[in-house]
Structures are given as C-alpha cells and as structure tokens.
Amino acid sequence: MNGKTILVVEDDLRILDVLEKLLSANSYQILTAANGQTALQMIHSHCPDMVLLDLGLPKLNGLEVLQQVRQWYDRPIIVVSAHGLEKEKVRALDLGADDYITKPFGASELLARVRTAFRHHNVQESGVSNPDSSYSVDGFLIDYDQRKIFVDGEEIHLTTMEYNIVELIAKHHGQVLTYDYILKSLWGPYCAEDKTKILRVNMVNIRRKIEKPQAAPRYILTEIGVGYRMATE
C-alpha cells in the first residue's frame, strides 16, 4: 500500500498542510491542489492513486470536478465536506465518490477511510473471481455462502429482504451506502421513492435483531440523512 500517490484538493492551506504532514507520515506520496481547476489538471497529468476532494472549492466546486473526472478516472475519490451538508454528500456519492468524511475529522478516521477505499478498489480491480466468503467484525459474522448471520456465535434469523440489505452493506464494509444506492441495488434501477420507508423500517428491525438491546449500534452505523455504513475493525 505504501508509496501510493494521493492528490489532496483543499483550499484551506492550514488544513492542506496538516493533511500533507499526516499522510506523508503514513508513507503516502502527496500532491496538492488548492482549487478545482488545478485539481482537474493534476488528475489528468499525474493520475494519482486516490483523490481527497474538498467540496467547497473556489473556481470549480468539488461536485463539478467529481462529475468531470468520474467519466474516465476510476480510482477512489473521497469527498471532504462540512457538517450539516447531507444533501451535498449524498449528491457526491451518487456522482461516484467512493466515500466521504466530515470536516473536522480525526487522523485515525481519515486514515481508516483511505485504507478502506484502497481495499475496495483493489477488490474491484482483482475482479469478482475471489470474493470474500464471509465478513466478521467485533462478534458479528456474516457467511455469504450459507446466507447466515451470527452474533457472538448465535445465529440470527432474518427475512430474505433483511438478509439482502445486511449482505450488501457488509460487502461494502467501512463504506457509506446511500439509501438510494441500497434501494437501486436491491429493487432495481427503477425503484420508486416510497421504498425508502420500507428500507428504513427494515433497517430498524434488522438492528433490533442484531444489535445489543438498549445500547448504541456497533455493527451497522447510521449516517443521518445519508445512509448506512458497516463497521470495520
């Protein structure tokens, strides 16, 4: 993983400085761009392994950069956005961003997102020939072959719909999936908007079954207004 190039697009020079220090310290090669225009040129000329893209950029905003670049650039893009701009995050994910991270973020959080994005990208690159047959985190285990779920060794009985939702999220563990993405993956691309309600209610039921009662969820995390994320170690 080391030696990979990350283009950091950020107009706030102080944050850019910190990110550069942090990522360099973790053996990534860093390229920087302070506005959307430069970012586009850098992506074209250097083709970095990953882009860390701030959405609020001068000249050409992050969403526009994303839209233009996504037509040909297939490496991970992580979007950086401010708190409270959920619509913007959903839009970025729908436009093909791999993940997002909300400003301000902790160092470990950022590094975890970067690693997750690289891992998913590698899985995609290597093709579906050798997909994981199961995923486990913190006492939770999902066996894709048997279509079974275990929490602390005990099997949890889910409906088919519930299982499909969990499987989808588990296969993208660490990555946030928007409601829209989940709906389209499970019900097809022409799925009606009102299915959201069904998905949300299903999710409440899933979590009641798999999470510990009367406590914060550990496995499936809510990104309010955006979607769901399966926890990683």
Partner: protein, 505 residues
C-alpha cells in the same frame, strides 16, 4: 367586488331615479284630489279619469322644467273640460269660472307640490350622502391593518358618486393603478400622464381643472403631511361636473382616507420598531451568552498552547499529552457549539430551510447515541423504543443534535455515574422523546429560565447548557413540537420533547 357594483347600479345613472318616481306619484295623487273636487262641483263623472290621466304627464314634465309643466297642466285642464261635451255646447259663466279657478288651482298646487318634492328630494339626498359619508368614515377608521385602504377609498368614492374610478400609487415600477372599479379598465397614456402630473404637482387635474381639462376623469391627489400618498381618479364624464355638495363630500372622503393611510403607516412603522428592538434585545442577549461560552474554552486552549510553547522542556511527557488532550477537548466543544449555532441560523432562516424527511425515530436515537459514545466512551446510555417502528417528519441532523445536547447535559451536569435513559413512545399523534438521568436534578433558579438563551449554568468545567437548551427549543418548535424540563419524583432531571408523528400504515 359585487357588493359595490350592486349599490352603484341601484342608484341609477344619475342617482335621481327614485326621486322622479316619488314626484310622479305625489303629483298624480294631488291631481286626483283636485279632479275629485272639480267633479263634485261640476257633477260630471268623466272628469276624474281624465285628470288622473293628465296628472302624471304634467308631473313628469314639471320635474324637468317648470314652464312646460305649467303649460301642460293648463292644457290638461282644458282638454279634460272640453271632453265634457255638454258644457262646450252650452257654456255657462259658472262653468268658465270654475274652469279658470281649476286652472289656477292646478298651477298653484302643482307649483307647491313641485317645491315640496324638490325639498323632500334634497333632504333625502343630503341624508343619504351624510349616511354614506358616515358609513365610509366608519369603514375607513375601523379598517384592519391588512385591509386595502386604496380599495376601501375607491369603493367609497364610487358609491358616493356612482361613477367608475381608479386609484394610482407609486410602486417600484413608477406610478401604477393599484385598484379599479369596475375592474379591467384600460388606462390610456394621457390618463397615465394625468395621474403622474397629479403626483408630481400635488394638485388636482383633469376634468374641470386647467391641466388635462379634456379628460373625463377628475384626478385628486390624496395628501397627508406634505406627502402624496395616492391619486384617486373619478370618471364623471365630459359634461358632468360634480356639484358643490358632491365636491365637499369627495373632499371629506379624501381627507379621511389620507388620515387613515397616515395612521396605518404610523402603526406599521411603530410595529416594525418594536419588532426590531425586540429582535435586537434577543440578539444581544444571545451574543453576550455565546461570547461568554466561547471565551471559556478558548482561554483554556490558549493557556495550554502557551504552556507547551514556553516551558516544554520542564514538562513531563505525560503532562504534555494531557495538555494536548485538553486542547483537543476544548476545541471539540467549540466545534459543537459552532455547529449548534449554525443549526440555529438554519432553523430561524424559515421553515423551508429545514430539510425534512420521514425518519424512523429509532435511527435518530441511535444516531445521537453513536455520537455520545464517541465523545464519552465511559458513559452508558440506555435506549427504550416501542415495539412498533415510529416514523416522524423531521430534519434528522437537527433532531439528533437536540438529543445529543440533552444526553450530553445529562452526562455532564447530573453528577451521577448512573446510565442516562433515552426513550421514545407515541403520545396522541406525537412521538414523545425523553432523556432521563438519576442525578441531582434541576434547582429552582435553573428551572425558571431553562430554555432561554441567557441561562448559563456555571459549573466547574461545564458550560453551554443555556445556549444548548435554547437551541434545542428553537429546533423542536420549528418542527411543531414542544420541549420541557422537570425533576423526576424518584430523583434526577427529565427532559422531554415531542414531534408530530406519522402512523405507519
């Protein structure tokens, strides 16, 4: 609109229809009585219908022109007497005398009747006008703030004169007609420029004045305190100048209207000032509270930083770590504070700033609990949700913030290590959220102004309760819910809020 139309047409084209009918009837009856008297004297039965028939004819003409009326009355007398064939063939002196006396009588009675009718008509007209003006005054004076004074004035003028009219006001597009009776009149360029002239000069123009005298409208500026508020245009028609009485009445209405408009402007202005100062006060209180709350952690950060910069060598590794940790904690707190403030600007920016969608309340609670777990890993939060899945329309991030604030307060201020309970249940079409702790509860002073921005509970190491709660209230109320705080009977504080809920079908 239909109301004033009906009133205007019922007056007839010149407002004299009713008085004509009255005069007719009076003269008709008068002639009848005279004819009856004559009949008694002459003894002919034909006289009665003849006179009765001639009466109205004479009367109709009488009301229009005095001379003709007299002539017709005399003619009527002669014709009706001539119809008495016998008397023509054998005229007697007695009959001729009677005829002359009768003619005189008709003229005399007719003249008097005419004057009587005229007086009656004048009196009634005056009375009606007075009543109308009174009504109009009443209406203008009692007009509510949101009534259109222009329309009211125009209605009154049209009712008084029985003529069509237009009111012009100054808008951002220049001088424009703001209301018309009847609607859909076309304003020709000359009329427009006449109205503009009235605005520019503050003088009447149009019909009967020096400027635009060929216009069929009379343009009257409505002026109060040297300010031209509007221009009323009344279409009297080219040959139809308003008489003196009408002019006085119009003046009266215009003056009343000017008064009412000024009063309305004053009331509006005053209202604005009151609102402004109220807003200012709230903002000042809020700013004062925020500044205080922001200063405390900033002071902590700055002192930690300077300590690190100036005496790093003397500090142990552990002390250094602790200082950095302090900076981190304070900065985190500041960030949450700013997030809270930002969400207030979102809520107070109007209902459409809320990004509402249907959310299961379970997820909202979990969202809040996840955030709390990140900030306070050692604390325990118990969650109680009902069997059925409750859904409510809300701006998810904001409600998570409310819950997070409440739970955070419970953890920080309760002085208790007991778990904080978060529960939700349906309550009469609302989702009722509760945050319960087992701490020392709220003292009287805190209870008194719990949700106002100025409350700051000064606790060792704690700050921001007041603003946090006032922000919670703003958010909850923007969603159409209510928030409350109380002490629990079994000890500890309880905060609850409601959100309108959708039943899951």
């Amino acid at each position: 609109m239909t109301r004033e139309k009906r009133r205007i047409t019922s007056l007839g084209p010149d407002g004299r229809l009713l008085s004509n009918l009255g005069a007719d009837a009076t003269v008709f009856i008068g002639s009848g009585i005279v004819a009856l008297l004559a009949n008694l004297a002459v003894g002919s039965p034909f006289l009665v219908p003849a006179f009765m028939a001639c009466g109205p004819v004479g009367a109709t003409v009488l009301t229009k022109s005095e001379g003709h009326g007299a002539m017709t009355a005399v003619l009527a007398a002669i014709v009706s007497v001539w119809a008495q064939g016998d008397h023509i063939r054998h005229p007697s002196l007695m009959f001729l005398l009677l005829l002359l006396a009768y003619m005189a009588l008709v003229l005399f009675v007719g003249g008097h009747l005419r004057r009587l009718v005229d007086n009656l008509y004048e009196m009634r007209k005056k009375h009606r006008q007075e009543k109308l003006i009174n009504d109009i005054n009443q209406r203008i004076l009692t007009s509510r703030a949101n009534d259109s004074l222009e329309l009211l004035t125009l209605e009154s003028l049209c009712e008084l004169t029985g003529k069509p009219g237009i009111i012009y006001r100054r808008t951002e597009n220049g001088i424009e007609s703001v209301c018309m009776i009847p609607r859909w009149q076309i304003v020709y360029p000359t009329e427009q420029s006449a109205a503009e002239t009235a605005f520019a000069t503050g003088q009447r123009c149009g019909l009967g004045t020096e400027q635009y005298s060929s216009s069929s409208y009379l343009y009257i500026p409505i002026i109060a305190q040297n300010k031209i508020l509007a221009v009323a245009a009344i279409r009297f028609g080219v040959d139809n100048h308003p008489d003196e009485e009408m002019a006085t009445a119009i003046d009266l209405i215009i003056r009343q209207c000017a008064l009412a408009m000024t009063r309305k402007d004053l009331v509006d202005e005053q209202h604005k000032i009151v609102m402004q100062s109220e807003k200012e006060k709230i903002r000042n209180d809020f700013l004062r509270a925020i500044s205080h709350d922001l200063r405390t952690p900033l002071a902590g950060i700055i002192s930690a930083c300077t300590t690190m910069q100036e005496s790093r060598e003397q500090l142990s590794a552990q002390a250094q770590t602790e200082l950095v940790q302090d900076i981190h904690t304070e900065a985190q707190w500041l960030l949450r504070m700013v997030e809270n403030l930002l969400s207030v600007t979102r809520v107070t920016g109007g209902a459409d700033m809320l990004k509402k969608s249907l959310e299961p309340v379970d997820e909202i609670i979990w969202g809040a609990v996840e955030r709390i777990r990140l900030r306070y890993p050692e604390s325990t939060v118990m969650v109680n949700t009902p069997e059925e899945v409750l859904l409510a329309e809300m701006d998810g991030t904001l409600i998570v913030q409310v819950l997070t604030n409440l739970v955070e307060n419970a953890i920080k201020y309760s002085d208790s290590a007991e778990p904080v309970e978060v529960s939700v249940r349906p309550d009469n079409g609302f989702a009722l959220f509760e945050v319960l702790d087992r701490g020392k509860g709220l003292d009287k002073e805190t209870m008194a102004n719990l949700f106002t921005a100025t409350t700051i509970r000064s606790h060792a190491g704690g700050n921001g309760l007041g603003i946090g709660l006032s922000i919670c209230r703003t958010i909850v109320e923007a969603h159409g819910g209510k928030i409350a705080g109380r002490n629990r009977a079994e000890g500890g504080a309880a905060f609850s809020f409601t959100l309108p809920m959708e039943e899951l079908s």
